[in-house]
């Protein structure tokens, strides 16, 4: 019976929270907007949990639930409703979104309470208003059953990201960062829109069921040549991937993510670690059947993911700001997810999404705890030795860090190892993928190094700045409880995807079996080769300890100044941004000259004619009498002549 709770509630609860916090939140006393907002997300999580249990008790092949709320667009051939598709994939995503989202809301109650950027306390409710709206849109994104509704959620989370990154809008860096995030996302969205238009042209509908049925039953529809000989079968997946590149920060559209650290830390945890950035992975996974007929695009995705993983991991090694390390780390881990997607190992990619959500959120919230206790200090060079002062943060950060580094037997090890294994196995069909796999292992090594370094630099050794160290203190329970939960999750969630515990039969492949009915057959979930297992193990352990050594000695692997000249940001600024400004200047010139010219002309004309007409107002009565007499004569003459 409770299994019929409408799915729409999952979206409506946070929408209600958005309305309440937005409209009357600023009149409430401090923790109440936060409590209301957390309450709505908790309610969504409970509804989601009940529905997932309801899904789990259904037989494995029938786990697809469709719920329509109302008809939204019905114009000509386009029919797009507000309706939801609930299957194992959306179940996993919605639990992540609402579960981790709830923990982050809880954390934010304490974190945002003492905000030195907000002395009046009036901005507090605004934060929760946007955070709730974000949960609503993200839930819409993963529950939608057609591309157009998913795009509504897609744009919505980008919008909320804009508001939340630019939350402290009086700061220069926040202003620039939020614009940058939105604009770069937009470029990806353009690709997504083109893909949707192509899908509509080829298939005639934007519903998942119609599109995927068309791929399965009438694949010849997709051989339509769009650009010369390039068919829709290639172009649609490519454009979808462009969209994913923007949202999920791959090369070349990742530049917004490091700058997005200008927002509050819980925002970085929720949006830029656990949920929004995984929207791209979700979208590609959902459209898995579309990618089946485009092996070249799949290889492209894997290569882009690999390069992103390595490049971002190396960048993370060179950072001194505690949040920037995690930002580049997110980009790198997303690269791993796309590597998995590229070889068709969608279940492993989603498994990494799950693991990443836990440990990255744990790390971000942990760094927030550190920043909070050091009163806003984010430079790791000034930290050190905090393990003694902040015990809970220390242990949870360690847990998250070990999971990220792929330290056996924690979460990251299983997910990353399975991904790299799948990539290398797929290399039998395409040699370039073997190179990708090797690079992936290198990236995993670097991941361990920078994570170990970060942990050691912040928590181990001796304090580098005595004054800051004096004031450091453990954070309150609203912040530590979510940390503990996420920390335990980081350690434990890996066992869900373990493939090798076949001697405990119920545990083998739990996660991949859950997701199996959703995806078109991609990489098989076979047992990974022992050699790769051992290599992964050694990399995880070795990378971590190597990093710790670097961190204890505060060795940053900084790029020499000469290499800093070339960066993607600088290239973009010199070309696209410059061109944008040139176009804007030209438009302003046209506006000033022509539009303003015409308006001024009209105004001037009115003025001049007024001056001319003023001459008739002589104020002499006899002139007026003469005018009347002349007028009377003219009228009379006209009647006479008629």
């Amino acid at each position: 019976m409770p299994f019929d709770l409408p799915l729409a509630l999952i979206i409506l609860f946070p929408l209600l929270g958005f309305a309440v916090c937005g409209l009357i939140g600023s009149d409430m006393k401090k923790p109440w907007p936060g409590i209301i907002a957390s309450g709505t997300v908790l309610a969504s999580f409970l509804v989601a949990l009940i529905r997932v249990i309801g899904l789990a008790i259904m037989p494995q092949n029938a786990r697809v639930i469709s719920e329509t709320v109302y008809t939204w667009i019905s114009v000509g051939a386009l029919r797009s409703d507000v309706s939801f598709l609930f299957d194992p994939l959306s179940a996993v995503m919605i639990l992540i979104i609402t579960g981790v989202g709830f923990l982050i809301h809880l954390y934010s109650i304490g974190y945002m309470a003492e905000d030195h950027n907000d002395p009046n306390g009036r901005l507090y409710a605004r934060y929760f208003c946007w955070l709730n709206l974000f949960i609503a849109f993200m839930s819409l994104l993963v529950l939608a059953d057609n591309f157009l509704l998913m795009f509504v959620g897609w744009e919505g989370v980008g919008l909320c990201s804009y508001f939340l990154i630019g939350y402290w809008f009086k700061r220069e860096d926040a202003r620039g960062a939020c614009k940058k995030a939105f604009i770069v996302n937009r470029i990806g969205d353009f690709g997504f829109l083109l893909a949707m238009m192509l899908i509509f042209v080829v298939v005639g509908s934007l519903n998942y069921s119609d599109v995927f049925d068309a791929v399965r039953n009438t694949p010849q529809l997709f051989s339509v040549g769009i650009l010369g000989t390039i068919g829709a079968a290639t172009l649609i997946p490519l454009l979808l991937f462009v969209g994913a590149t923007g949202k999920s920060a791959q090369i070349p559209l990742f530049v917004w993510l490091p700058d997005a650290m200008a927002g509050p830390t819980p925002v970085s945890a929720l949006i830029h670690a656990a949920t929004m950035v995984t929207a791209g992975v979700y979208m590609v996974a959902r459209s898995s059947s579309l990618f089946l007929n485009a092996p070249n695009i799949q290889i492209l995705i894997c290569v882009v993911g690999t390069l992103t993983a390595l490049f971002a991991a190396l960048s993370a090694l060179a950072q001194t700001d505690i949040k920037k390390v995690l930002a580049y780390s997110t980009v790198s881990q997303l690269g791993f997810m796309f590597m998995a997607v590229g070889v068709g190992a969608y279940a492993f990619a989603i498994f990494h999404v799950l693991a990443h959500a836990f440990f990255k959120a744990c790390l971000f919230l942990g760094s927030g705890s550190v920043i909070h206790s050091l009163h806003g200090e984010q430079d790791m060079d000034k930290m050190g030795g905090l393990a003694k002062k902040m015990k809970i943060t220390n242990i949870t950060f360690l847990a998250g860090g070990l999971a990220l580094a792929g330290f056996f037997p924690f979460a990251g090890f299983f997910s990353k190892d399975e991904i790299l294994d799948a990539v290398i196995h797929a290399g039998s069909g395409a040699p370039i993928l073997i190179a990708c796999g090797v690079v992936g292992f290198i990236a995993a090594l670097v991941t361990g190094i920078y994570t170990g370094r970060q942990y050691a630099q912040v928590f181990l050794g001796n304090a580098r700045d005595e004054e800051l160290y004096e004031h450091a203190h453990e954070s309150g329970p609203t912040m530590t409880i979510p940390l503990i939960i996420l920390g335990i999750g980081s350690l434990v969630v890996g066992f869900l995807g373990m493939p090798y515990l076949t001697f405990i039969p119920a545990w083998g492949h739990v996660f991949t079996n859950w997701l199996a009915p959703v995806f078109v057959a991609g990489a098989s979930a076979e047992a990974p080769s022992i050699i790769l297992l051992v290599i992964g193990l050694l990399i995880g352990w070795g990378g971590w300890y190597g990093g710790v050594v670097l961190g204890k000695n505060a060795v940053g692997v900084l790029m020499p100044e000469s290499l800093r000249v070339v960066s993607l940001d600088k290239i973009y600024t010199a070309t696209i941004v410059r061109a944008g400004y040139a176009i804007a200047d030209a438009c302003r010139w046209i506006d000033d000259t022509f539009v303003d010219g015409i308006v001024n002309l009209v105004g001037g004309f009115v003025g001049e004619s007024a001056v001319a007409l003023r001459a008739t107002q002589t104020s002499y009565v006899r002139n007026y009498a003469l005018a009347m007499a002349v007028g009377a004569v003219i009228v009379l003459a006209w009647f006479v002549i008629k």
Partner: protein, 100 residues
């Protein structure tokens, strides 16, 4: 019988003299007298037409015109007296403050 056109002609001449007087003369009372002249010229035209067509309506209308003339004179003289009290002159050219 005198042809009606003579009467109309006289009426026209009187009207023209009155109109020109209104436009040319500067003394306000003289302007009023010229206006009366114009009104009476039109009365003459009405009566002449009444005689020609043997209708009483023309003569009745003359009464109406006279009533209007009387009312207008009452109001107009009141205005002239007020203007004179304020500026000690009856020159119509002197009331020229409503300039552009």
């Amino acid at each position: 019988m005198v042809p009606t056109s003579f009467y109309i002609l006289i009426s026209a001449v009187l009207f023209t003299i009155g109109a020109l007087g209104v436009l040319v003369r500067r003394n306000a009372i003289v302007v009023f007298m010229c206006i009366e002249l114009m009104l009476n010229a039109s009365n003459l035209a009405f009566v002449a037409a009444a005689r020609q067509y043997q209708q009483m309506s023309g003569q009745v209308f003359v009464f109406f015109v006279m009533v209007i003339a009387a009312a207008e004179v009452a109001v107009g003289l009141a205005i002239i007296i007020t203007v004179f009290r304020n500026r000690e002159t009856l020159d119509v050219d002197s009331v020229n403050e409503l300039k552009n």
